[in-house]
Symmetry: D2
Subunit: 396 residues, 4 copies
Amino acid sequence: MNIAMLGSGFIGRFYADSLLGGRSRDKIVSVYSRRKESADKFASDYNVPFVTTTMEDAINRPDVDVVCVSLPNYLHEEAVMLCCKHKKAVMVTKPLGRNAEEAKRMLEAVEKAGVFNGYLEDLVYSPKFLKAIQSVKEGALGRILWAKSRETHPGPHSDWFWDIEKAGGGCILDLGCHCVEITRSYIGKDIRPIEVMCWADTQVKPIDAEDHAIALIKYENGAIGQFEVSWTFRGGLDLRDEVMGTEGTIWINNFLRTGFEMFTTGKGADYVAEKAESNTGWLFPVGDEVNDLGYNHMFNDMFSAMEQDRQPEETFYDGYVVNAILDAAYRSAKSKLWEPVKLDIWRGKTGITRESTLQEYDKDHYLVKEELTHYGAKKVILKNKKDGRIIEKILE
Amino acid sequence: MNIAMLGSGFIGRFYADSLLGGRSRDKIVSVYSRRKESADKFASDYNVPFVTTTMEDAINRPDVDVVCVSLPNYLHEEAVMLCCKHKKAVMVTKPLGRNAEEAKRMLEAVEKAGVFNGYLEDLVYSPKFLKAIQSVKEGALGRILWAKSRETHPGPHSDWFWDIEKAGGGCILDLGCHCVEITRSYIGKDIRPIEVMCWADTQVKPIDAEDHAIALIKYENGAIGQFEVSWTFRGGLDLRDEVMGTEGTIWINNFLRTGFEMFTTGKGADYVAEKAESNTGWLFPVGDEVNDLGYNHMFNDMFSAMEQDRQPEETFYDGYVVNAILDAAYRSAKSKLWEPVKLDIWRGKTGITRESTLQEYDKDHYLVKEELTHYGAKKVILKNKKDGRIIEKILE
Amino acid sequence: MNIAMLGSGFIGRFYADSLLGGRSRDKIVSVYSRRKESADKFASDYNVPFVTTTMEDAINRPDVDVVCVSLPNYLHEEAVMLCCKHKKAVMVTKPLGRNAEEAKRMLEAVEKAGVFNGYLEDLVYSPKFLKAIQSVKEGALGRILWAKSRETHPGPHSDWFWDIEKAGGGCILDLGCHCVEITRSYIGKDIRPIEVMCWADTQVKPIDAEDHAIALIKYENGAIGQFEVSWTFRGGLDLRDEVMGTEGTIWINNFLRTGFEMFTTGKGADYVAEKAESNTGWLFPVGDEVNDLGYNHMFNDMFSAMEQDRQPEETFYDGYVVNAILDAAYRSAKSKLWEPVKLDIWRGKTGITRESTLQEYDKDHYLVKEELTHYGAKKVILKNKKDGRIIEKILE
Amino acid sequence: MNIAMLGSGFIGRFYADSLLGGRSRDKIVSVYSRRKESADKFASDYNVPFVTTTMEDAINRPDVDVVCVSLPNYLHEEAVMLCCKHKKAVMVTKPLGRNAEEAKRMLEAVEKAGVFNGYLEDLVYSPKFLKAIQSVKEGALGRILWAKSRETHPGPHSDWFWDIEKAGGGCILDLGCHCVEITRSYIGKDIRPIEVMCWADTQVKPIDAEDHAIALIKYENGAIGQFEVSWTFRGGLDLRDEVMGTEGTIWINNFLRTGFEMFTTGKGADYVAEKAESNTGWLFPVGDEVNDLGYNHMFNDMFSAMEQDRQPEETFYDGYVVNAILDAAYRSAKSKLWEPVKLDIWRGKTGITRESTLQEYDKDHYLVKEELTHYGAKKVILKNKKDGRIIEKILE
């Protein structure tokens, strides 16, 4: 694939490391940045032949197969519209829009233009997530009751993130978009999110946007999604998921505790660990960040989809649903109410009813719980079907 | 100490194991149970001379120094009133009441009667908690922003827990009481809890009470407490705390991951692990449950307090505050609103204002973030004091 | 119990914290130290009425029930002989002697004098070990094949440890004694240790004794014990055991990873973590060191044994066996050969033969391995009884 | 690259998954297997156009750029000689030979033939190892003192592994080859291995080869390598490295504890976890096995090396050194002596002397240890340069 890269900052470089890693078949043929020196540096580091500070010029080139939008949030829509104009396949970094309105316009534009569209949500492509979701789909956890994703760290690298106008929000938009798509995937992407309760606050940073937020997302089948996001966490990047089902549990730690532990006095060398808050004492590096955070599997899906003329796992539609959920979170943080998720476009199931919780025990009772006592006897706790009374019964 | 034990079930036995452990100076001199055979078994196991099915008879004995109430929730008030009548020191298992009204009556009764009162909340006496809270008090974490406690397992052992009338509620009351007191302690027991938002549902069990709930508790200084409780968790007893402060983080795992891991095929023997959901495969036992869950340090504080004629760390007042918070959680779960915590009695600070988040950088700017770049240069993100604009600046 | 404490240094204070912890029934009635100011400080901290710099005076007092020897290794024998002379029960810190010769003289002396003798090996009383050994005895791991114990840290606190004459050796004697008794217990204290292979070196410290050593200990039944000890480890105190059996595995982490994790920038306060090599960054405190390292359960066994007129779990005989194994390790480190364990006194089993490894499959074959293939079929690997040929067979 | 694959079993399929993963540029153009049906299945699964049961026919094809030898150990030499005959680049799975003699013949053959040769030791290409070795090279751990690698599991999948003639040995050869190259890399591949002490036994399986072994490898600079290997481990695949340096520590867990934990009752579905010993209870999957075990980075290095006309990180020379160390281990297991590593060919440093352990403190003393006391004072332990006496000194 020949790629036009829009943006040459932190995420653009991460993408390039993945896109050009190993003995890649792909190359970046043009790069756009608002700042010439940043674009030049990127071009030099990644061997890109064409450099421009005019966005359209990077896109509108015959050799470009696909455009990768790695720009600040407030520039996504402009970039997408240009791709539509020039009929270029387009992939956009997360979040898709600053809000659902923007996202919806982008979704409608790419579908109208008939161009390939991919939503670059890497964390539902991380190897651990991929294996976990497969287990969930095979039923290892039974019915999913709750899925939480947590992403917290000491704050983003670039100035625009901290500017509520350019970013569209604070840590909810920056980190919550990951968490929403992760938990929505565990619960089922075809299950409709109904309403959101969110607490958000600016506890530490001198900014207008929130630097800490927690939300609950209720789905039509009664399952609950949850996110915990913050720019005030101390200790590195905390990236964990937890899922509860009727038959099992999943705990995933993507970053700070992955089986790699190092202690260093710092005397030996000027060693600086990536993303850590310190470079001495106990450090917890990640082996292969680009692979472990999902970038490789994500671009593999994107390009395979293009080659096979199918949709990737994550499209603008998914980005739009995520934005709609985040919008509800923002409204809730202000209104202090459970706010409905407004989805003008919904392509999943509708009218799902909740599963019954009644488990038959015998003709008069439901089963509440069954356990082994210390004495090795089996004990059941039962509920009388008629009068609702709870009793214990020891079985032989 | 000579102890009258009211209740001979699961928690009474746990308490007895702690009270009589090692080469204890203390003894249980009377035991009451609703069921004679249970009282007899307890008396035989723990060498108790006096057995009765009349509560008052267990209490009203000259040799009894202190009464330990290990009864189902709906019997706490009756037991406490009898202790007041007979001027006996009294310790009550958690939660103190089924609601704040009951708790308040008990609090007022013991204070009026002038009897020693202890609230048996073991988890703020666990060794890990004690060391963590000391670090927090010494300032290792800076200002506390958020404290979460999670307690989930596959459901309680006895029938009465599942009966909403006898228990007063479901997992919120059973498990949330622990979590509330843990998180309140990290945030500061003198900081007033203001309001609560709670989601609760009966997702799995055929019962009237909730089997899964999540709540946020807002404190007057802007800190947030959180609990996650469930009777539907699969995999054992999940008992974890997480605390975020401006200068640090604490993660405590009290049960399933404590540095003890065992794999067994189960062929070797009929080995049965305590509290585990399975007895083959990977198991995660706890070394010294009675000590690690805080029972030893709790009774040590209770009895030392009695001997030194001081209050223990946890009194009925704490139990009352916990009940008031849980009441607000129950109201919120129904109303779907943030519900105020109603505290007729409040003995902590009042009128606390939130700390400013503005960190001076120079006369024109506040500091947003400071970090080392890959290149070893120091970068600051600043906010203009006048126009609020965010800028990046690379320092030499 | 009324205790005479000999020694007022690091380990004496640890013992005192355990002996007098909680609402203890016991007290320290006399303390001896070589240095007056150290004895005085100890007496003041632990409320000890009698202080002396004459060892015999601390022992030979009518109110002393038991003597606790917390002295440097080269003073153990002198102390024990004085206890024998005055017919006092005696408990000695690890290692019992500087070598098996010393240990044997002490063993013979206490047995001849008929006094109670306890070997203060706390790590076979740690709560995790106690639960693990119970599982092993119940058969959860099948036949034990290998047991390793590792204790490494950045070096001991007091000068005498580093003096080979006073200590009798380096980290082998200081730390290996723990590891030997732990692994010997897993394999079975009645199984005879046969021979030892040991590597030892002085890799870092400017001392005569070894600062790093690894050894294998072969037992009569074919099981292997292993120790890894060092005074050159960076990162804190690494204290781990691993056990392999035919039916299971045990992994115990006693110190650096026990479910308590804290990050601190160090800005909040002058927080200093115990035993850690740093006081900022990620720290891993232990909840209740005195309990978790086994001191409480150890003294409880010692005093219960005295009260019940039985032997404690660890006696001078065990200390002697440990010293004999360590002697063989020292000889092996020099000779580079497997050195026999010389045990003039052996009270366990003798003439044990190894269990056969042949597992019958059918009349012509032994079973090598059985597994499920990807395809869900069962596959066996078999060995022909006659010609020894190995074959694969897929079963339906 | 066009690859000829020799062998279609477990490891061949793992290699193919890596070679053809993602949107690979490479393809397998021929496959050889001793069994036609296995070759056919492989060809069908991986879309290979040419299938043969004649080894030479798979190699000697014009479109073959490189031959990948994934055969049982006893067939490596034959395959390599055919590659030399036809001047084909060749990569051989681990271990290179059944012994150093075989390995040396292969090394000399490929060098004489002038063909590219790669040694497929994936575990020194695992992402965690690559990051760890970089830190070590940058000095984060100071001087390396000890490096251990452990690989244990319940036994290999195919019959030939269990046949000492075909395999050349048991778990030492099968698993020890990994561990030797890992630890040798940490210590420095240019540091000469001098001698080996090894214990090996057949503790469980009815086979002629060893099923459990532990060895120490002494290097010329005094560093110690260690391996622990077994086919008798219960609980899955245990794959861990530990490294100690004068300034730091590294702990890597490659398999059973990587931040992915799942509990399942097994009721939900017929879920079967890969490589686990059970499919219910707590399971610990690995996210992306092919990447996490190093296959991707290994083949990337191999093919990049071919394209850039340089040597890969691991060549037949490395395979030969590993075999020479393992030979010494086998001799030692029999002789019970430290056995010299016989290296006719050695291309690293020679005549290295050990670093002095003396650390200057002042003109009269060496520094033994420096620490902070509880009281906040700094304490040093010093050794007198003349008389060797050890003293303590408290600094203000």
